[in-house]
């Protein structure tokens, strides 16, 4: 059981901290020029952070307690391939989810 005061400290602290992270550049830097080297790095923010967030969950999924799992691996591969091929986010999600449910049903 989570202690109520701990929970509220976490909710409020995490809320304030997250807002400050989001406001940091947008609010405080404003329209002042950002140095080119920083911009060059920021161009790769999304393509670096999002895969780093997703791939460990593909390799060690929470649902299996961290054991690598063929349906999830294959579904992830299908999602990436369809995404690369169609450049369509929803098509990639639908194909990935379809693959996952199909394989879980077949193998489960």
């Amino acid at each position: 059981m989570i202690d109520a005061s701990t929970l509220w400290i976490v909710i409020i602290g995490l809320g304030l901290g997250s807002y400050l992270l989001r406001f940091a550049f947008l609010g405080l830097v404003g329209d002042r020029p950002i140095p080119p080297w920083l911009l060059r790095h920021l161009r790769y923010t999304a393509v670096a952070v999002l895969p780093a967030l997703a791939v460990p969950q593909v390799v060690w999924p929470q649902a299996t307690g961290g054991a690598p799992d063929a349906p999830r691996m294959i579904a992830a591969a299908v999602t990436v391939l369809v995404g690369l091929w169609t450049k369509n986010v929803i098509a990639a999600i639908v194909c990935g989810a379809g693959t996952l449910y199909g394989l879980l049903w077949l193998l489960g």
């Binding site: 989570i2 940091a24 609010g27 404003g30 911009l39 895969p51 969950q57 649902a63 999830r72």
Partner: protein
């Protein structure tokens, strides 16, 4: 009069374009929010606590991190530090959006900051790079449009999940909504070899750094990927200049 192409998107049309581009994310934000509600209810939180959690923090991955650590009785400082580390990417998104909407009025940026999410960021950065001639108000309107369908679903589906509680069978494999969403979002973004290198380096480092405590592996991997991408871009530019 010259024709009205994407170049002259009015704020109103930009808003609706953002709305259309953001709407598909409902399909993935919904299940993700339901899952948070379900897991939080299982951890003993009540509906109000779960809703406030989602409204105040509005960041799924960080919420899951915090929830996980709290159920493990981790020290509060560790819970906060880890969840904020997961959210460091929001500062990166904020910085990445700044060249595009940093010239908007402060009150608009202050509101927009709250709505910097994986989805709104992903949509907007693609649109801004594709149509660099959009005016500042049109960009802000596009961003607002992309947020509008997603956020009510985030709040509402959280409550739905909280109410459903522990009744969802594990066979639904909702856990995989997040990785699939992120992978689907990434693939169309891999436009140049430098983007591919950034993603590959980030993936390798994230796997190697999986044992690093407090989710800091994610930050290390993200920064490594960004540095690799920037290096690759410089290298490609130099080769092009030499050719």
């Amino acid at each position: 009069m010259p024709s009205t192409t994407a170049k002259t998107l009015t704020p109103r049309r930009a808003f609706w374009k953002g709305f259309r581009d953001g709407t598909p994310f409902v399909l993935v934000v919904g299940p993700f929010a339901v899952l948070f509600g379900v897991l939080a209810a299982e951890a003993g939180l009540n509906v109000l606590e779960i809703l406030v959690f989602s409204v105040v923090v509005i960041a799924g991955a960080a919420q899951f991190t915090a929830l996980q650590l709290m159920t493990e009785d981790a020290p509060t400082v560790i819970v906060l530090a880890s969840a904020l580390a997961v959210n460091l990417r929001m500062a990166m998104y904020s910085a990445s959006l700044t060249p595009w909407i940093g010239a908007a009025p402060l009150w608009q940026r202050a509101i927009a900051a709250y709505f910097v999410l994986d989805q709104s960021y992903a949509c907007s950065i693609v649109q801004f790079e594709k149509a660099p001639d959009m005016s500042i108000p049109a960009r802000v309107a596009y961003f607002a449009g992309a947020v509008c369908p997603v956020v009510p679903v985030w709040y509402g589906a959280t409550v739905a999940g909280a109410l459903i509680g522990t009744q969802i069978p594990e066979s639904w494999a909702l856990d995989f909504a997040l990785p699939i969403t992120f992978l689907a979002m990434i693939a169309p973004m891999l436009r140049t070899p430098a983007h591919v290198i950034a993603a590959l380096v980030a993936v390798v480092v994230s796997l190697l750094a999986a044992g690093v405590p407090y989710s800091l592996g994610l930050i290390i991997a993200g920064i490594s990927g960004m540095m690799a991408g920037a290096r690759a871009e410089l290298w490609a530019d130099a080769r092009r200049a030499a050719a």
